[in-house]
């Protein structure tokens, strides 16, 4: 029995490895094709460098500290803007979802502001804050705040009223019901917002840095563009892709950890 169970789990893990291996196969095939086509020199190499040249350039940029410097600037802005925006959005969303008066008061304002693209705020923030570190952080804050507020408030409002009624009959006050019933049951909706906005924060920071900020991955992209350094541009885009993917996966992992055991069993 033990052997068969072990055999079963080994088979499963093999299967998992094979599945993930199969997932990487198209990526390797794509990179191979890219390398091959670039080396045929049909397109000039400065316009379409081979993958190996991009890797070499990535190592050079890491070694001379340029990539680390710009990446850390972008990362810092994303983290500060996203964390503060998320916490504020979460707090306001919880209050709006919980309190009907707050919801009815602020819901029309949120509904009006929510659809404005984060970069739409750039001109206003440039005038308000000037071109300094506050500008990209404010943009990321805005980009995170409204969607997370919206998802949190709707997640709380969607919790079945009967859970709240039962909690009340069990002697719980409203504040405790908010924290022990409404907030946990709204987590799936909150995580959906966090996951989407975590990737969006990176897309927005790159755009903001390209337009207005002299440092960061976006700024490096613009500088590479003016020097027609396609290899650096591709390195920057690869960093962006990895960061968007990693942030989204991180929140996906957190969501699974926080909710899977009671949602799926």
């Amino acid at each position: 029995m033990i052997f068969s169970t072990l055999g079963g789990s080994m088979n499963e893990s093999k299967k998992g490895l094979m599945t993930s291996g199969l997932g990487f196969l198209p990526v390797f095939a794509f990179l191979g094709l890219w390398e091959l086509v670039a080396r045929l020199d049909i397109i000039p190499r400065q316009m379409f460098p081979p993958f190996s040249a991009v890797v070499v350039e990535a190592f050079t940029l890491i070694k001379n500290g340029v990539l680390i410097h710009h990446f850390s600037m972008s990362l810092m802005r994303v983290l500060i803007g996203f964390i503060t925006g998320s916490i504020a959005g979460l707090a306001c969303g919880l209050l709006m979802g919980w309190n009907d008066i707050l919801n009815r008061t602020f819901s029309p304002i949120v509904s009006l502001i929510y659809p404005i693209p984060a970069l739409g705020w750039l001109p206003i923030f440039m005038i308000w804050f000037g071109i300094n570190e506050l500008l990209p952080i404010a943009i990321i804050f805005t980009c995170s705040f409204f969607p997370i507020l919206y998802n949190t408030a709707s997640g709380v409002r969607d919790v079945d009223e009967n859970y709240v009624q039962v909690a009340r009959t069990l002697g719980q006050g409203e504040g405790r019901i908010l924290m022990t019933i409404l907030f946990p049951l709204a987590l799936p909706s909150i995580f959906t917002g966090l996951r989407l906005e975590a990737g969006m924060a990176w897309r927005v920071i790159i755009a903001a840095e390209m337009v207005a900020i002299p440092t960061g991955i976006g700024a490096l992209l613009m500088r590479a563009e003016s020097l027609i350094r396609m290899d650096i541009i591709i390195v920057c885009l690869m960093v962006l892709a990895v960061m968007c993917f990693s942030f989204e996966r991180f929140f996906y992992f957190l969501e699974k950890r926080a909710t899977e055991r009671w949602r799926i069993g």
């Binding site: 009624q165 039962v166 009340r168 009959t169 069990l170 002697g171 009671w262 799926i264």
Partner: protein
């Protein structure tokens, strides 16, 4: 329990005129201390609305007194009410243990006291082995137990049960009813139990209240209501029964009593000291053209007096030594193949279906 009223004293007085957006017309009820009052009625009678009004979950016109105080001025969380809704609403993100102790956590108890009280309640409901599981991993019966444990853990003054067995299969529901009844009696909890099922009401309740269209039609013991329903709806809920008057009775041991009706003699469960009547539902009267095997206890030879087709059923009146016994069998039942008025048949009355009144 917080109050010290003796059984029979009034714990809750409910006098409702209307509930906003619901058809609740006139309710006048007294719930006695430590009794289970079963409120029975058809779907839409206003039973759930009534229970929600008592719990403070819907606005109402009228008065609800609990322990002599009008509960209108008492916030829901201070009413000391245990509420078990129809769909249970176990908190899905909490383990069984966290669900059970949730009501204790707002009472200012220490961590150890909460743990120990939670364990006690879980032992009482026999769910200790489920402590670490989430509701998503529980069976229907286990969920019911957890929900009851959660409701009774904070020692409520009154327990409100809203059709807790309606989603269970017949066997599990029957088993749980007996278990819940035992627990409610052991804990001497005052309970308002809602159901549309008269059997459940009879099994669970010390007294019955029959409700229809937002009003209470009748309250009383099951026997009182059974003997004189006084209302077409109550008769409908009770279904057709044969009621036999008891002229004499004497215990024969093994928890049984011999009852003489003057015309026939039958054996019934020894449930009451003074037996006035014995009732049996038409659907529980078994009929056979062949003599059934076994001793001649509660088996009688009779003659079919009337036979009426009524939809999918055939209703019969059988004369057994002068007693008219009502019976119903499905159309096409082989037991009465080729029978007609005047045919001799055997009537079998199962002991467990005989109601002693």
């Amino acid at each position: 329990m917080r109050n010290g009223l003796l059984k029979g004293g009034v714990l809750a007085k409910i006098a409702l005129k209307a509930v906003k957006n619901f058809a609740l017309n006139s309710v006048d009820l007294e719930v006695h201390h430590r009794e289970t009052l079963a409120i029975v009625g058809l779907t839409g009678a206003g039973k759930t609305t009534l229970i929600k009004a008592v719990a403070g979950l819907v606005p109402y016109q009228g008065n609800i007194f609990l322990n002599g105080s009008d509960v209108r001025s008492i916030p829901i969380r201070e009413r000391r009410i245990g509420y078990l809704p129809q769909d249970l609403f176990l908190f899905p993100h909490m383990t069984v243990f966290s669900n059970v102790v949730y009501g204790l956590s707002g009472m200012g108890l220490g961590r150890e006291a909460i743990k120990s009280q939670g364990k006690d309640v879980m032992e009482l409901l026999r769910i200790t082995h489920l402590a670490g599981r989430y509701p998503v991993n529980l069976s229907g019966g286990e969920k019911q137990r957890v929900a009851l444990a959660r409701a009774i853990a904070p020692h409520p003054d009154i327990l409100l049960l809203d059709e807790p067995f309606s989603s269970l299969d017949v066997k599990t529901a029957k088993y749980l009813r007996l278990e819940f009844r035992r627990i409610l009696r052991d804990l001497r909890l005052t309970t308002l139990f809602i159901t549309h099922n008269l059997t459940e009401a009879e099994e669970m309740g010390d007294r019955l209240a029959v409700m229809d269209k937002g009003s209470i039609l009748r309250t009383g013991s099951f026997s009182e209501i059974f003997i004189s329903p006084n209302h077409p709806l109550i008769s409908e809920l009770l279904g057709s029964h044969t009621i036999l008057n008891c002229k004499a009775s004497h215990p024969i041991g093994n928890g049984l009593t011999q009852v003489e009706t003057g015309k026939i003699s039958l054996v019934v469960p020894d449930e009451k000291e003074s037996i006035q009547k014995v009732a049996i539902a038409s659907r529980h009267v078994y009929i056979s053209k062949e003599k059934p095997p076994g001793p001649d206890v509660n088996r009688f030879l009779g003659t079919v007096e009337e036979m009426v087709d009524e939809g999918s059923l055939k209703r019969l009146v059988i004369n057994v030594s002068g007693e008219r016994v009502l019976a119903e069998i499905p159309q096409g039942d082989e037991a009465l193949h080729d029978s007609e008025v005047g045919t001799s048949v055997y009537v079998i009355l199962h002991l467990r279906h005989l109601k002693v009144l």
